[in-house]
């Protein structure tokens, strides 16, 4: 079992950075020896949150950086996501009505619904003009 200090990286507010996020998380997965499924779920949660931040978070045209910090205890992965976009607390979002029929089904809010279901804990703080989201995920090693 590998444990190590926090691993940090930054992503620009551009959709193409999703590929960078995936590469970085693959490397984190290797370093920490994360099971495939755990890595997939954390990747998906970060993808949804990152896509939301860059789609709705910034009202100017300048470049922004989204900071990701990953740390692991033997059975718990913690990921902190920070951005300086408009204040947005995804934890407060009302979940979509599920299950739904095809006609009723709306995709709004689905990303955050996935995040809440895939992670064990999601907490939000607004700290000095920064959105700070902390995700916790139990590492289930088979």
């Amino acid at each position: 079992m590998n444990t190590s200090g926090p691993i940090s990286f930054e992503l620009r507010n551009h959709l193409s950075e999703l590929a960078t996020l995936c590469e970085k998380m693959e490397a984190v997965g290797q370093t920490l020896g994360l099971p495939r499924r755990c890595l997939f779920e954390v990747n998906l949660a970060l993808d949804e949150l990152f896509t939301n931040i860059i789609s709705y978070g910034f009202q100017d045209q300048s470049e922004h950086f989204i900071r990701v910090r990953v740390s692991a205890a033997p059975d718990m992965l913690t990921v902190v996501l920070e951005d300086d976009g408009v204040a947005f607390n995804p934890v407060e979002r009302i979940p979509p009505d599920l299950p739904c029929t095809l006609d009723e089904c709306k995709v709004g809010g689905l990303g955050i619904h996935l995040v809440k279901n895939l992670m064990d804990e999601v907490t939000y703080e607004r700290r000095a003009g920064t959105n700070v989201l902390t995700l916790k995920k139990t590492i289930e090693r088979s």
């Binding site: 959709l15 193409s16 999703l18 590929a19 995936c22 495939r36 499924r37 997939f40 779920e41 990747n43 998906l44 993808d47 949804e48 896509t51 979509p96 599920l98 299950p99 739904c100 029929t101 095809l102 006609d103 089904c105 995709v107 689905l110 990303g111 619904h113 996935l114 279901n117 895939l118």
Partner: protein
Amino acid sequence: MEIVELKEGAVNTFKLQGRLDSNTSQSFEKRLMDAISDGAKNVIIDFKELDYISSAGLRVILKATKTIKRQDGKIMLCSMQDYVKEVFEIAGFDSFLPIVPTPEDAFKAF
């Protein structure tokens, strides 16, 4: 992401490979919606080689399913890896989308 499109008789199959996310969903949406507006009614989406899907990918499949239903068509999904299937289940999409184990099972449904 790679998309291989096959037409066998009255069935259009899309084999997806790689990652279906916000970056790649637009090109898949275009291919799928083009086929449907060209009259495709029996569509199979084969997930065997798909490693990853996000809500952007779910959104494309939902839109295509609603559109094809209006022209009395049907979309079958097959060969999903467990963790991809889990995403459909959490989203509640498995309640109205047929997900079957193999392409043969999907063919039989038309």
